[in-house]
C-alpha cells in the first residue's frame, strides 16, 4: 500500500477551514528527502546514459456503445464548505556530466474566510544518473505497488522525473485526505490508474480515505483527447449556458491495466468558452457528486470555468526562472555538482530550423 509506506502519521482530524494548517501537520516523506540527498552524492565513474522514448499511454477511447451525454444544469450552493487544491511541479534544472538534475515542488491551496492560503513543500532536488537509477526505481516501485505489473522495467532517467513527481503528488494528496474532512479536494488530472504514476492500490486507498472523511475529490483535466462521435468531449458543452455538466455515462471500460475510478463529466462552470473534463469518485452517488460541484461553485471563485484554488495551486508549485537559477546555485554550492551546458545538436545541425528538444 502506497500510503502505508509513506512515513505519514495520521494527525488528529479537524474540520476545515484550516487556519491552523501548518507544515508540522504534514510530515515530510523522509525517504523522499533521503532519496533526494543520496541522489546528489557525486559519482566517480561516468557511464553513458541510455535513453528510451517515453511511453505515452493514450486515454482515447471512442466507444460506440456509450450513452449519449446527459446535460446537468447547476446552481451554486453557498453552504460553507472548505475547498482545497493540490498541484505538484517538476523541472529539469540542468545536466551534469553523469546525469540529470531535477527539482520537484508541491503546493496546497485552501480558501479560508474568503482568503486563500498556501502551503508549499519543496523544492526537492534530485540527481538522476545511471548508477542511482536502479535505487530510485526500486524505491519508487515500493511506493507505487508496481510489483503487480509484470512488464515493469527500469525507467530511463528522463522518465523518472514524471514518476517522482507523481509519487510526491500522491503523497500530498493522501496526506491532505487524511487530515481533512467534509471538504472538496481538487486534483489536477484524472482518477484513473494504470500507469506507473497512478497505481490501482494507491488510488483505491485514497478514495476510500476520502469517503470515510466525507471528502469529495474533484479531478480536473486541462488537456483531454476524449471524443464522442468524432467530436471532442469538451466541445460538446460549449453551446450550453453555464454552469452545467455533461455526464458521460459508461464512457470507459476498465481493462487489466487501466482502472477508471471516476465518473466522467465535462464541466463548464463559468461564462468563458472553456470546458474541462471532471472526474468524480464513481463510488459516491451521483446526486452527492453533483452537489459537490454546486458547493464548489458556491465556495470558490471560478474564472474561465476553472476553480481559483486549483489555478493558484498550479501557480504556487510552478518554478520561475529566478527559482531555477537559485536552485542551480544551491546545487553548485551545497551539493558541489557542476552543471554543464551540452550543445544542442538540433540547433547545431539545423540552425534556425532545429526546433524541438535538445539532443
Amino acid at each position: 500500500m502506497v500510503n502505508a509506506q509513506l512515513p505519514i502519521t495520521t494527525p488528529p482530524k479537524y474540520n476545515f477551514p484550516l487556519p491552523s494548517m501548518h507544515a508540522e501537520n504534514l510530515q515530510l516523506p523522509k525517504q523522499f528527502v533521503e532519496l533526494s540527498l543520496r541522489s546528489l552524492k557525486k559519482l566517480e565513474n561516468t557511464q553513458q546514459m541510455s535513453k528510451r522514448n517515453s511511453e505515452n499511454s493514450s486515454l482515447i477511447n471512442e466507444n460506440s456503445k456509450i450513452d449519449f451525454p446527459r446535460l446537468i444544469r447547476l446552481k451554486p450552493n453557498q453552504t460553507s464548505t472548505p475547498v482545497m487544491a493540490i498541484d505538484v511541479s517538476s523541472i529539469k534544472i540542468g545536466e551534469t556530466e553523469t546525469g540529470l538534475l531535477l527539482a520537484i515542488r508541491g503546493a496546497i491551496i485552501w480558501k479560508h474566510a474568503n482568503r486563500y492560503q498556501y502551503l508549499r513543500i519543496g523544492p526537492f532536488p534530485f540527481h538522476i544518473y545511471e548508477e542511482n537509477k536502479n535505487l530510485i526505481s526500486s524505491i519508487l516501485r515500493n511506493h507505487s505497488q508496481l510489483a503487480q505489473f509484470q512488464d515493469f522495467t527500469i525507467p530511463n532517467s528522463f522518465y523518472i522525473q514524471s514518476r517522482l513527481t507523481a509519487i510526491f503528488e500522491r503523497w500530498i494528496q493522501t496526506s491532505i485526505n487524511q487530515i481533512t474532512n467534509n471538504s472538496l479536494i481538487l486534483f489536477d488530472g484524472s482518477l484513473a490508474s494504470g500507469s506507473f504514476e497512478h497505481s490501482l492500490e494507491s488510488i483505491t486507498q485514497m478514495l476510500r480515505t476520502a469517503r470515510s472523511n466525507q471528502n469529495i475529490i474533484l479531478a480536473f483535466s486541462k488537456m483531454t483527447r476524449l471524443v464522442f462521435r468524432g467530436q471532442r468531449l469538451t466541445d460538446l458543452i460549449l453551446k450550453h449556458p453555464p454552469p452545467c455538466l455533461l455526464k458521460m455515462a459508461n464512457y470507459f471500460t476498465n481493462t487489466r491495466l487501466t482502472h477508471f475510478f471516476g465518473s466522467v463529466y465535462v464541466a463548464k462552470l463559468s461564462g468563458a468558452n472553456y470546458a474541462f473534463r471532471l472526474d468524480i469518485d464513481n463510488a459516491i452517488p451521483e446526486i452527492k457528486a453533483i452537489e459537490a460541484v454546486k458547493k464548489l461553485l458556491g465556495n470558490d471563485l471560478i474564472l474561465q470555468s476553472y476553480p481559483e484554488t486549483l489555478r493558484l495551486a498550479h501557480i504556487y508549485s510552478t518554478f520561475t526562472a529566478a527559482e531555477v537559477l537559485g536552485i542551480q546555485r544551491w546545487i553548485s554550492q551545497e551539493a558541489d555538482l557542476r552543471i554543464i551546458t551540452k550543445p544542442n545538436l538540433r540547433r547545431l545541425l539545423f540552425g534556425r530550423f532545429g526546433k524541438g528538444p535538445e539532443g
Binding site: H22, Q117, Y118, L119, R120, T320, E323, G326
Partner: protein, 492 residues
C-alpha cells in the same frame, strides 16, 4: 561581482546582496591574464533583470487579497533563490585603465569576463599614484567608505571652480571650508557675501573668536568700507559709471575731463565733484546724466570726503597676503549699490594684481548673477584669471552661470539637485560625463557632494562635507521659529 557588459565607457556589473556597493563607489576590474585592469565608478544601481521575476511578484503580490502561507523548505533553498532575486546591476563608468605604469585615462581595455576579479577600491588607493603634498592637505570630509577625503588645496590655484546645489544642501558650508583651508595655507581670499553668511568665519560655533579671527576682515559698504575719491583711480570710477550705472560714452568723456581737472587742482572730493558737474560747461543732457549718477554714487555711502572715515581695501588685501579673507558684506546693500561696490572691489583687485601688489587672489562669489555685469563673466574666466583672480562661483540656480563657465570649470562641487533642467545645465561641465552628474547628483543626501575635477585627480568622489566649528550666520528668518524672540530682537 561579475562583469556583464561593456558599451563604450559604460560597464555593467552584476552584484549580489552580500556585496555592499553604493553609488559613487570605485571598483577595480582586474584581469590577471593581462596584468591590466579598469577602475570604474558606480553611477547607477538597478535591479538585475532576473528572468521570471514578474511572475514571482505577481504570485506574491501584497494587497487585500494577498495569499498568505508557509513554505516547507527542507533544503533551505529559499536563501539561494532570494540571493538571485536580489541581484543588482551596477552601471559603472570607466575612470581609468591601469597597468604597471600606473593609471591612464582611457576606456579601450576589454577585460576577460570569465577571469576578471572585481573588488572595491578605496579613495586612498585611488590617489596612491598621485599623492597630495602633506603640507597642502585639506580635509573635505568623509567618503562613502568612511575614509577622510584629504585633497591638495593647491588644486584651486589658477582654477575656476563652481559650487552648486539645491537650496539648503550645504553649498556655503563647503565654500567656508575651502576658504578657511586656503586661509590656513596663507592664501588671500575675497568673498562677495550676499547674505552675511561668512561674517562668522572668525568665530567658533559659540560666537567666540577662533584661530582665524585675526585673518578674517569683514567690510560692510557704507559702514567700514568707505573710500575717498583720491584712493580711487579714474579707471575704476569710470568702470563704476559705465558698467554699473550705464553712463553713456559722451557723458563718460566729460566725466573724465572733470576728474582730471579736479585731480590737477587737488580737489578730488565728492563735494567738489558735485560742484564741478554743476558748473561744467557742457550739454544739459550730459550734465543731467552726470548728476543722476553723482547722486547715486553719493547715496551708496561708499564714498566719503573724510580721510579718517576712509578704509583702504588695499590695506585689507595686503593684510591677507599671508593668509586671510576679506568678506564684503553685501546683505544690506541695494541692487545698484551692490553693483557699484562689486565694480569697485573687482576694479581694485585687478589694479593691485596688475601692479604686482598682490600675487594672486581667490574670489568667492555667491549668486554672482545678482551683482556681476554681463561682460564680467567672460572677463573672469579669461582676462582676470591671467591676472591671478581665481574665482569660485556659488549658486543654487545653475542656469544663471553661463555654459562656457561650466565648460572651463576646473573643479565642480556638486550638491543634490532633483530638477532635470538643473541637472541638464550642470551636465555641460567638461570634467565628467553627463550621466554621472545626472545620476549621482540626483541621489546625493544632505551635506553630501560629489567633487569633480583636478582637486580629486579627475576621479569624481562623493563626500560628506565635514562640520566646521564656525559661527553660522545668514540663517533664514522664520516666522514660526520658536528660537526667534522678536521682542528681544527689536530691543537689541
Amino acid at each position: 561581482m561579475r562583469l556583464y557588459k561593456k558599451e563604450g565607457s559604460t560597464i555593467q556589473i552584476i552584484s549580489f546582496p552580500s556585496e555592499r556597493v553604493n553609488k559613487g563607489d570605485y571598483l577595480v576590474i582586474a584581469d590577471s591574464s593581462t596584468g591590466k585592469g579598469i577602475i570604474v565608478q558606480v553611477v547607477e544601481i538597478q535591479y538585475a533583470n532576473i528572468p521570471g521575476f514578474l511572475e514571482e511578484l505577481l504570485r506574491s503580490c501584497n494587497d487585500d487579497y494577498s495569499i498568505q502561507g508557509e513554505d516547507v523548505d527542507p533544503f533551505e533553498m529559499s536563501n539561494h533563490i532570494r540571493y538571485i532575486q536580489d541581484a543588482h546591476l551596477l552601471i559603472c563608468k570607466i575612470r581609468a585603465v591601469y597597468s604597471n605604469k600606473g593609471p591612464v585615462f582611457a576606456s579601450s581595455l576589454l577585460p576577460s569576463r570569465s577571469r576578471a576579479k572585481i573588488k572595491k577600491i578605496s579613495t586612498e588607493r585611488l590617489f596612491a599614484q598621485k599623492k597630495p603634498n602633506i603640507k597642502y592637505l585639506a580635509n573635505l570630509g568623509e567618503t562613502t567608505e568612511k575614509n577622510q577625503l584629504e585633497v591638495d588645496i593647491r588644486a584651486l590655484d589658477g582654477s575656476l571652480n563652481i559650487i552648486t546645489g539645491k537650496k539648503g544642501t550645504g553649498k556655503s558650508h563647503i565654500s567656508k571650508l575651502l576658504t578657511l583651508s586656503l586661509v590656513s595655507q596663507g592664501a588671500p581670499v575675497v568673498i562677495l557675501d550676499l547674505n552675511s553668511e561668512y561674517t562668522g568665519l572668525g568665530q567658533d560655533s559659540d560666537g567666540k573668536p577662533n584661530r582665524f579671527h585675526k585673518q578674517i576682515h569683514i567690510l560692510t559698504p557704507g559702514h567700514n568700507l568707505k573710500v575717498t575719491l583720491k584712493q580711487l583711480k579714474l579707471g575704476v570710477m569710470t568702470s563704476i559709471l559705465v558698467n554699473a550705472l550705464n553712463l553713456p560714452g559722451t557723458s563718460a568723456r566729460e566725466f573724465r575731463r572733470i576728474w582730471r581737472f579736479l585731480e590737477q587742482n587737488g580737489n578730488l572730493t565728492m563735494q567738489d565733484l558735485g560742484s564741478a558737474i554743476k558748473s561744467w560747461k557742457c550739454n544739459q543732457h550730459v550734465r543731467d546724466a552726470l548728476f543722476s549718477r553723482y547722486y547715486t554714487i553719493l547715496g551708496s555711502g561708499l564714498f566719503t570726503d573724510d580721510p579718517m572715515q576712509a578704509i583702504s581695501l588695499e590695506d585689507s588685501l595686503k593684510k591677507s597676503r599671508v593668509g586671510g579673507a576679506v568678506v564684503i558684506d553685501l546683505r544690506d546693500t541695494s541692487t545698484i549699490d551692490r553693483l557699484i561696490v562689486v565694480e569697485y572691489v573687482l576694479g581694485k583687485i585687478v589694479e593691485l594684481l596688475s601692479r604686482w601688489k598682490l600675487k594672486a587672489i581667490f574670489l568667492f562669489a555667491e549668486e554672482a548673477h545678482l551683482y556681476l555685469r554681463e561682460t564680467y563673466w567672460d572677463d573672469i574666466v579669461t582676462r582676470m584669471r591671467h591676472f591671478g583672480v581665481f574665482t569660485t562661483f556659488i549658486t543654487n540656480q545653475p542656469d544663471t552661470i553661463r555654459e562656457n563657465i561650466y565648460r572651463q570649470a576646473d573643479n565642480l562641487f556638486l550638491f543634490n539637485f532633483t530638477n532635470e533642467h538643473d541637472l541638464e545645465t550642470i551636465s555641460r561641465a567638461s570634467k565628467v560625463d553627463a550621466e554621472t552628474i545626472k545620476s549621482i547628483a540626483h541621489d546625493l543626501p544632505l551635506h553630501h557632494c560629489v567633487v569633480l575635477g583636478n582637486i580629486v585627480n579627475d576621479f569624481p568622489i562623493v563626500v560628506k562635507v565635514r562640520k566646521l566649528d564656525v559661527y553660522a550666520k545668514g540663517h533664514t528668518r522664520l516666522f514660526f521659529s520658536s528660537k526667534t524672540n522678536f521682542r528681544e530682537v527689536i530691543q537689541q
